[in-house]
Amino acid sequence: MTEKKINVDYMSRVEGEGALRIHFKDDQVSEVQLNIFEPPRFFEAFLHGRSYDDVVDITARICGICPVAYQMSATHALEKALGITPPPGIRSLRRLFYCGEWIESHALHVYMLHAPDYLGYESAISMAGNPELLPVVKRALRMKKAGNDLMVVIGGREIHPVSACVGGFYAAPSQKALKALLPELEWGLNAAIDTVQWAATLEYPDFEVDYEFVSLSHPDEYPFNEGSILSSTGLDVPMEEFDQHYVEHQVAHSNALHARRVDSGSTYMVGPQARFNLNFERLSPTVRDLSDEIGLELPVRNPFHSLIIRSLEMVNAFEEAVQLIESYEQPRQSRAEIPQPLQAGEGCHATEAPRGLLFHRYRVDENGLITFARIVPPTSQNQPRIEADLWQYAPGVIQLPLEEATLRCEQLVRCYDPCISCATHFLKLDIVHD
């Protein structure tokens, strides 16, 4: 009997601290662990006793890469708990805010975290050393900056923005400040289209999985902040029922809680690929035509094609950002009046973070203090799915030299753009094996 091991003690080009271990016996996979050693920070615990207003700023600190996602899920959930309806214009402004974060996060992942795997480089920094690739890296940085600049105008800064609050925004940007972004966003739209065409020329491993895709779905628009929970298995339920159908389990071999379907115990995928497959008709005509032009067939079952899908989502986000700014009028009121005295209540909400569905549930007492908090980030939902992919993928690469096989498996993990900082906001630190 021969044994082989793929061991990556500290995965690079992902957000946070994780390790990858795959064990083989006679070229059969015997064990897969995406092992997370990032320490827990106990957000759900220390939110207890904090004011509802604090939640928006505190949960942003779960993730420096997708703070807007946390702010959007939190504001909507707390508005439901407290019975607050934001004033007119806020809904669009929140979509615009999310466009900025999707652009920033996707540009970072597509070019700087994932593309090096397809081009044979260890980083985008090394790619920039090749004169042929330097323009690609420069394009990436400029696109990323365009997304960041949009977040800065709406939120004051791109990491942990300060303007979002329960009821809307502390202040809404002026029409002039947003319009000043238009030339760069219009450039970005073309750059994103170029990105899709460039992404289509990369070489992708031949690998397909029969996934259950789960995302928000809205009848009229590509999902950001609203919609029902839709699954490719046909399940279509209000987001309030999310945690009746999907639940997290603690598993012995990993430091992560794993989310699964309640009824079948099966794994599922959230994120760009799930959104794209379930909501293709709500993408802009530009994006759908591009997708046809490069020959993507629905549903996309190859996880490596998520790089192309992120690029397509950037086209959608740039295009929507331009449209929202062109029709923007500064809301007369940026924040709903908070009814006094406060009503105690419970509310939950899901939005689409760049990495997928992000669910929050809160209970608030009559003093506005949090008595219960539950947060289900995308990466803790995808983690069992990543491991299941590796069980299927690893046997096909184990004949390669070990170093090459290891790189291929890391490349697969990165398809999910795992954000371990998010997933470990409540993960346990150390498991005692029995």
Binding site: F42, A45, H160, V432
Partner: protein
Amino acid sequence: MSTSRKPRLAVYKFASCDGCQLSLLDCEDELLDIAGEIEIAYFMEARSQTLPGPYDLTLVEGSVTTEEEIERIEEVRRLSRFLVPIGACATAGGIQSLRNWADVEDYVSIVYPNPEYIKTLKTSKPISDYVEVDYELPGCPISQEQLLELITSLLIGRQPRLPAHTVCRDCKSRGTVCITVAQGIPCLGPVTRTGCGAICPAYNRGCYGCFGPIDDGNPISLGEHFLALGYSGDQVARHFRNFNGYSLMFREASDYFEGKDND
């Protein structure tokens, strides 16, 4: 000594959100120039290649929350000529230092199905509680401007010029009407270090202290003013007990106001 060797930069992560190390990648206009002058020798979020220490400049994000992290920060210190904690987690313990006021075992049982498996330190503390540090960059997140100043000054061998005045002064510079005086909204600007550009008052809300206390501020005096405006002691305490809540001056202020009744 070789003159051709580029200075080596390392970026380490402890308990944190990744936002401060992302600040380096968010220097879109400068990143390639930095990479031209400096060997980015260890930066797991950005590159797979790692070069061994010693490192000329090590940036450390995150707070110390586990036994393993204590050992690791000691090792990082040994490898580093200049060790600079970046961000509120690394310089003050971060938002996760709220556990320092609680029983961490209660926290564990609130969050985990199998609390008996959890092993973590009772506290979240800054890097300087465990090793000597050379400079510190405050902020949640840090200021890119201060980060670039730190990197370039150490590169050319001079002291970094890190400003230490208040957010309050920045508001005056940018002409923002005082949110506390005009609207009675509590604002930590008079006792908080500069770095953000005084964005919160410009966005019609009070400063919540992302860059931590200035050296010679008087948070308790400021908090008394919030009580006089009608806020409860617990509200004032929570205001100080945020991302830099465990920094000495904000900690003392939050402990002072917690449970305190208005007169």
